[in-house]
């Protein structure tokens, strides 16, 4: 059987309605009866068509008479007469299918047998994957079933080479960091651009700014079940079409569309249980051990100083062990249900869906409820006119529990209570920080607050497409992303933040983004085997947001909880910002002889974020490809190979404010209720685009008729004029200045392997990807070290995200080893020995800090497999990361006598108690900060490499004869486990959490909630 590859585009309207543009084709057939396959070959050769068929449904060796017709549709009608089959033709693609069968029934067969290759959405259009000469990754969530993925970036996790996804924490609805091909920028604008059905959407926080804890993930509004495909534009040649926002890559999300056929209904329901694994790693020392360490610390101090600090005694010796962690954590129960109906006729196709999700968090009270509906409708009104709308509306309710860096953050602070501390006094009232407790009472924090976010979001677009003449069409679309968000944070009078009188912050945010696109495209094939696909376009976009927030305090009782009854308003703010962009877009693709590819694209963007002189940026790209396996000399028809190379330019304006360039006199600096203004915004009139030039070299190959595939990519990305909020000497009046300060380089290699092997009823689809990315700064203001935050620094030649701190060498085993300078400060045997870089005997951060590793991995990747046999399917996904360091910023349980902090049991047991007892954990010493809080040091820096089992899923599809009897076409049950295990040298639970998503401050763990382990049971049905 001859294997064909043809493009099947789900997005382009014209596809499945056969023969939209009647074309005259001159195909010369020999004047004698021939085999059907011979006729197909002639059509492919002469007409430039690709024909796909299922040999099981049609006898390709049957003899047919040469068609006399000129029209391609009629040619196929003639060829297929009497076979019960018909041709679905679009552009140069022909699908031979049984008459009147639903496309949706037919397609999967072609997919699974590699008979058709999907088209790739490339921004303002689509291309046959074969014709792509840039680096684009495609992933279809449908290929994995089940799983706990809450949002689109979690779907991508571990699946694609060069795409690294890490969540900030395991809190419900928390944000994650997606980096495509390393670090794109120094600013917070390091996230890719997300485009849903052509509309760039906001991926910043979903909340309105009233909540101090972790921000909410704005991407969770997209229901993963609605996603048809996720495509990542990795290199500049593919991404340059999105110009000034594309430096960090572009994630194109295409939602499902209806196909011709009777209505089909998909139902999906799932129930999950989640909990935090490996909590024993965080065990707090019991009362005996705590007192032993604490009093040993005091003894050491007294012996050394001659003072006589008294021992600590247990005020409640009768109390047993008590875990605050167990008190606030739970096994969370979540469920999700979604339904969709899709179908269509030649004229109208629709996909409508609704979903409800209820996610419980593992902390008591934590919860997110999500409801969403979607309608994607497209209609071919005339032969030359088609229209469509995609509308997605969502409502999210998130019930907050203290998290993130809040003083009441649950997991962190559950480790900071002494073994005898309890949440309630004997009279039933709360125990209180500093009166009964060392830290906040977590139950008081949980029960005396009411904090939630309500988020309303609509994403939609409408388009009209006009086909003027054959191949020339105009597509005009308008799209919008609308967010309305409401934060409500009420601290009752008994809450620690309630100021004893009750305090309410009520905040609102409205965000509107409107994009208008007009794209004119032209396709033409010449007989000289030249194919042209060109487009020019124009785009206007405006983002506007407004915020309003009031904080009132003083409520008659906790039953009153709106600000209209507050005794006073301590903060009332409102804000407005907007920015806009105008773009001109151009792209053309030329294909010669089916094997030489050339794509040229360019985009010019103008943005309001810069002063008028620096407003416009130009982002060109060019890429070429050579399909070697199409060459006559290529003899092995079972192997295909393509080589491609590209170079292009992209820009970045993310992470900077809408008016960042403008030096301002700001209002609101009032005194005694009179208005005042102050020069608070430094601005920078020279501010301009951050630009990147990317080079990409790739090879795609498939072996044994597509059973094995491999892609190797090499890339280099040079970013210059980095936008950065540069630290400047405070004597200037400002501590930072936004500017374009330097350059960096990312080099990388990506390898992707795939397999798709069937044998009888057994099938194996495997995937493996690995990417090595190295980053380094190639220029900065000067060669000096520029510290960013407390733990990291930037320096030319070093990686962005490098840790910069004092290096711990070990523990002084005897007093003799201690240099005099340090001895004078009280350092003795058992204390930490730091590296004295400048050799002055003393340790200080200015002179003794050094680069000690990076938060970025040397390589990352994933390994997945899916096995199907009869009705069973088993799949798993492993992801791994190697060489990334993580800094433990939470030092509470590691202070060993510096303050009254309870100890981590592991640390207390491992402490130095005499020569030779430890070379990593210091002695207990009262009141001295040397070992724990005086320096940022490698004592808390750990190897964060890991291998994680992201998901393991087992499903069973009931036999169709059985389910048809009860009215279903398909019924599948599955069981899945997410985050089943993690292998890591990291001593705490999750090396992936990070308190900062900023590339320059990345890889810090402050005992935020780790990712939970989740077990799910689900059922999928179709009828």
């Amino acid at each position: 059987m001859k294997r064909l590859t043809l493009c099947f585009c789900l997005l382009t309207l014209t596809l499945l309605s056969s023969g939209l543009a009647a074309q005259e084709n001159i195909i010369t057939f020999p004047q004698k009866r021939m085999r059907l396959i011979t006729a197909f070959d002639l059509i492919e050769e002469q007409g430039g068509y690709a024909v796909a068929y299922n040999e099981e449904l049609i006898n390709i060796n049957r003899k047919v008479a040469p068609p006399k017709e000129k029209n391609i549709e009629d040619i196929f009608k003639s060829l297929l007469k009497g076979t019960g089959m018909e041709a679905q033709i679009s552009d140069r693609m022909v699908l031979i299918v049984p008459v009147n069968r639903d496309a949706e029934d037919v397609l999967p067969w072609y997919h699974t047998h590699n008979m058709i290759e999907e088209s790739v959405i490339v921004g303002y259009g689509s291309m046959n994957r074969k014709d792509i000469s840039s680096a684009v990754e495609v992933f279809r969530p449908e290929e994995i079933r089940g799983g706990a993925s809450q949002s689109v970036e979690m779907v991508m996790q571990g699946r694609m080479a060069g795409v690294n996804v890490r969540s900030s924490s395991g809190s419900v609805g928390s944000r994650s960091r997606v980096s495509i091909r390393g670090i794109g920028s120094l600013t917070a604008g390091n996230e890719p651009l997300y485009v849903v059905d052509g509309i760039p959407i906001s991926n910043t926080t979903a909340d309105a700014g009233g909540w101090d804890g972790e921000q909410l993930n704005a991407l969770s509004d997209i229901n993963p079940d609605d996603i048809e495909s996720v495509q990542i534009l990795k290199d500049a040649a593919s991404a340059a079409i999105y110009g000034s926002r594309a430096t960090n890559g572009v994630v194109l999300i295409t939602t499902k569309k209806g196909l011709r056929g009777a209505p089909r209904v998909n139902l999906d329901a799932k129930c999950s249980l989640s909990y935090i694994p490996s909590l024993h790693k965080l065990k707090v020392a019991d009362a005996d051990l705590y007192l032993k360490v604490q009093n040993e610390a005091i003894d050491n101090y007294n012996r050394q100083t001659g003072e006589s600090v008294a021992h600590i005694v247990n005020p409640y010796p009768e109390r047993g062990y008590f875990s605050w962690t167990d008190l606030v954590l739970r096994t969370a129960v979540s469920w999700k249900a979604s339904a969709s109906v899709s179908g269509g006729t030649d004229k109208v196709r629709y996909y409508i869906s609704a979903n409800a999700r209820n996610n419980q968090g593992v902390i008591i009270g934590s919860k997110a409820e999500k409801y969403g509906v979607r309608a994607n409708v497209e209609a071919n009104i005339k032969r030359w006119l088609s229209v469509g709308v995609n509308i997605n509306a969502n409502y999210n309710y998130t019930h907050h529990v203290p998290n993130g860096n809040m003083g009441t953050s649950m997991l962190t602070h559950s480790l900071e209570h002494r073994p005898w501390d309890r949440p309630y006094r004997e009279d039933g009232t709360y125990t209180i920080k500093d009166v009964d407790l060392l830290h906040y009472n977590l139950l008081q924090a949980l029960y005396e607050q009411e904090a939630f976010n309500r988020n309303y979001r609509a994403i939609g677009n409408a388009f009209v497409q006009i086909n003027f003449i054959d191949g020339l069409s105009l597509r005009s679309s308008v799209g919008g992303d609308f967010i309305y968000s409401e934060d409500y944070v009420y601290y009752g009078s008994k809450h620690m933040y309630g100021n004893s009188v009750g305090k309410l912050t009520d905040a609102r945010k409205a965000y509107t983004s409107i994009v208008t696109d007009n794209v004119l495209s032209y396709r033409k094939s010449w007989k000289c085997r030249l194919d042209l696909d060109a487009m020019i376009g124009h785009s206007l976009s405006t983002d506007a947001s407004s915020t309003a927030s009031q904080t009132g305090q003083g409520f008659p009782s906790d039953d009153f909880n709106v600000n209209s009854v507050a005794a006073e308003y301590i903060d009332v703010t409102s804000g407005r910002t907007s920015w806009s962009m105008q773009s001109f877009i151009f792209r053309t693709t030329l294909k010669y002889n089916g094997r030489y590819l050339l794509t040229v694209s360019a985009r010019a963007d103008g943005t309001s974020k810069f002063a008028s002189k620096n407003r416009y940026g130009f982002f060109p790209s060019v890429s070429g490809g050579w399909i070697i396996s199409q060459e006559p000399f290529w003899k092995d028809s079972r192997t295909e190979m393509k080589i491609r190379a590209s170079v292009g330019s992209t820009g970045n304006q993310g992470g900077i404010g809408a008016y960042a360039w403008m030096p301002l006199a700001n209002g609101g600096y009032n005194y005694l209720n009179e208005s005042g203004i102050a020069f608070m915004t430094k601005g920078n009139k020279k501010l301009k685009w951050e630009k990147a030039t990317q080079y990409n070299l790739g090879v795609d190959a498939s072996f044994f008729e597509g059973r094995f595939t491999t892609t190797v990519e090499l890339f280099r990305k040079d970013t210059r004029d980095l936008l950065y909020n540069k630290p400047i000497s405070a004597t200037s009046g400002f501590t930072n200045e936004i500017c374009n300060i330097g350059a960096m380089r990312n080099d990388g290699i990506e390898l992707t392997l795939g397999s798709n092997i069937s044998s009888g009823e057994f099938r194996w689809q495997g995937g493996f990807n690995i990417s090595f990315i190295s980053n380094r700064l190639t220029a900065l203001i000067a060669d000096e070290v520029l510290t960013t935050g407390s733990y990291h620094a930037l320096k030319v030649g070093e990686e962005v995200g490098s840790f910069y701190m004092i290096k711990m060498l070990g523990i002084y085993q005897s007093d003799d080893e201690v240099p005099a300078e340090q001895y004078a400060q009280g350092v003795r045997a058992g204390d930490v020995k730091y590296e004295d870089v400048n050799g002055d005997g003393d340790i200080d951060t200015v002179n003794d800090s050094q680069f000690v590793g990076s938060a970025n991995p040397l390589f990352t990747g994933g390994l997945s497999s899916r096995f199907t046999w009869k009705g069973f399917d088993l799949s798993f996904l492993l992801s791994f990361s190697y060489g990334n360091k993580i800094y433990q910023t939470w030092t509470g349980g590691l202070r060993l006598g510096n303050g009254l902090w309870p100890s981590q049991e592991s640390e207390a047991l491992a402490r130095w108690t005499g020569p030779g007892t430890s070379n990593s954990v210091p002695r207990a010493i009262y009141g001295m900060t040397w070992n724990s809080t005086k320096f940022i040091s490698t004592r808390y820096l750990h190897d964060g490499s890991y291998l994680r089992c992201r998901s393991l899923s087992l499903g069973y599809t009931l036999p169709s004869y059985a389910v048809r009897r009860i009215g279903f076409n398909e019924l599948k049950v599955y069981f899945s486990a997410d985050n089943l295990f993690i292998l890591s040298p990291y001593r705490y639970i999750d090396p992936e959490v990070t308190t900062s998503l900023n590339a320059t401050k990345y890889g810090t763990d402050c005992m935020w909630l780790p990712e939970p382990r989740t077990f799910s049971f689900g059922i999928k049905a179709r009828f």
Binding site: K433, N518, Q582, Y669, N670, S732, G733, V846, Y926, G927
Partner: protein
């Protein structure tokens, strides 16, 4: 039929030009649009900046490391020495946030000064200039007492500043207060800068500079004047009208983030409090029973000792007291000395506060008595550390190394500005 669509398309393509990319903020105006007509707004803004930029760490520092305050809670250490050693380091926020705040404030003051200087002469212009010089003096007083040799910056901006000698910084501070004294309006409200406020701070500056005669004369002028008189702590520190405060930042809740009370008060206060710092046992016991200042200065909330001068709790804000008349009594006493008749001023104040007279035998004992009185009178108002430092008693009183008599320049500044040099006391002794 198709032609109109093409035209529409062209119209849409060209629609984007023009003003589409011009966007301006709503909470500010471009700096170049500011003129002398905005002077009043700028001066009001300067008050706002001046009161909050030093942050709690700035206003409270001299108490936090003065030996009478220690940390509470999990980071508790029970000696002032450990408190100081743990708190002062070139990276610690107690050092860095005030440094950043003072220079941010100075930038504002210098910018405003530049604009006002360009105005035509008028009485109001003079007064506004007086306000600018007052704040610049106040900020430099705070800088020089902490870091000694700091850069003197007289205009907006400046990154690679060079440090000036300590003596010239002191001269600059005195000069600023003298200018302010000559230009400022007469006293009308404690919340605004006045001639009298400038003269009080000039007295404080002269005391630090050792110009005792000048200091005493200025202090006496204020004591003898009709405007101010001593008042009870229960009115000064509980928001009641009194004639003792000479200059106090209003520090209204909507206008400032400096919340002194929260750091000292506990949750048992009834108004909330984060309770980060508490008086030492010694400080709790330093007031005698008859001392009328005692109740307002220190108290017990539940089982916790607290500094009681700021009573707003989490829910409120307290004024930031910059200078009041009692300090003038103490400056005068100290400068006149035992021989010069200073004892009478000291005892006058003591009598007013409900205490017996003291009768020190010699100048040294007299200085100790004045310092003890300053400790009692000004506890929690930002004096103690520098009082001990300027009289050379800090290391012996608190028991710390000599380097703690000056703050280290923040590490960040040293790395960003090669012209700055760390204070010798903060350099390792055997540095290469």
């Amino acid at each position: 039929m198709k032609r109109p669509l093409l035209i529409l398309c062209i119209v849409m393509l060209s629609a984007g030009c023009g003003k589409y990319l011009e966007k301006y903020p709503h909470n500010g105006v471009p700096r170049e649009n500011i003129t002398m007509e905005d002077a009043e707004l700028l001066v009001t803004g300067m008050y706002n900046i001046a009161q909050y930029k030093p942050t709690f760490n700035g206003w409270a520092l001299f108490d936090l490391i003065g030996g009478d305050i220690i940390r509470t809670g999990a980071t508790n250490v029970n000696t002032a020495r450990l408190m100081v050693e743990g708190a002062i380091d070139p990276d610690k926020s107690i050092v860095t946030t005030p440094w950043n705040g003072y220079f941010a404030g100075l930038y504002q003051i210098n910018s405003v000064l530049e604009i006002i200087e360009s105005m035509p002469d008028s009485q109001r212009r003079k007064e506004m200039l007086g306000t600018c010089h007052f704040f610049r003096g106040l900020y430099y007083y705070n800088l020089v007492t902490r870091w000694r040799n700091v850069p003197i910056i007289k205009g907006p901006g400046g990154e690679n500043q060079v440090q000036a000698e300590e003596a010239s910084v002191w001269e600059f501070v005195a000069e600023e207060f003298r200018k302010s004294y000559l230009l400022s309006a007469d006293f009308s409200s404690k919340n605004y800068v006045s001639k009298e406020a400038a003269s009080a701070l000039l007295a404080r500056t002269y005391l630090a500079m050792g110009r005792k005669g000048d200091a005493a004369a200025l202090a006496e002028g204020l004591i003898d004047g009709q405007l101010f008189s001593l008042a009870d702590f229960s009115s000064i520190f509980r928001g009641k009208t009194n004639a003792e405060e000479i200059f106090t930042f209003a520090n209204l809740i909507q206008e400032s983030s400096v919340n002194l009370s929260s750091y000292y008060y506990t949750k048992d206060s009834g108004v909330g409090g984060a309770y980060n710092f508490m008086p030492t046992a010694e400080a709790m016991n330093m007031y005698s029973e008859s001392d009328m200042r005692k109740e307002v200065s220190v108290a017990m909330q539940g089982s916790n000792p607290v500094l009681n001068k700021y009573c707003g709790g989490d829910a409120g804000r307290d004024p930031i007291y910059i200078v009041r008349l009692a300090e003038m009594y103490l400056i005068s006493a100290e400068c006149l000395g035992l021989e010069g008749g200073g004892l009478e001023r000291l005892n006058e104040l003591r009598r007013f506060r409900g205490l017996e007279d003291v009768n020190p035998s010699d100048e040294e004992a007299f200085l100790d008595a004045v310092l003890q009185e300053r400790r009692l009178e000004l506890f929690g108002e930002g004096f103690r550390w520098y009082d001990l430092v300027r009289t050379g008693k800090y290391t012996s009183t608190v028991g710390v190394d000599a380097k703690y008599t000056v703050l280290p320049i923040p590490a960040r500044e040293l790395s960003l500005n090669g012209n700055l040099h760390q204070h010798l006391l903060w350099q390792a002794k055997n540095a290469i």
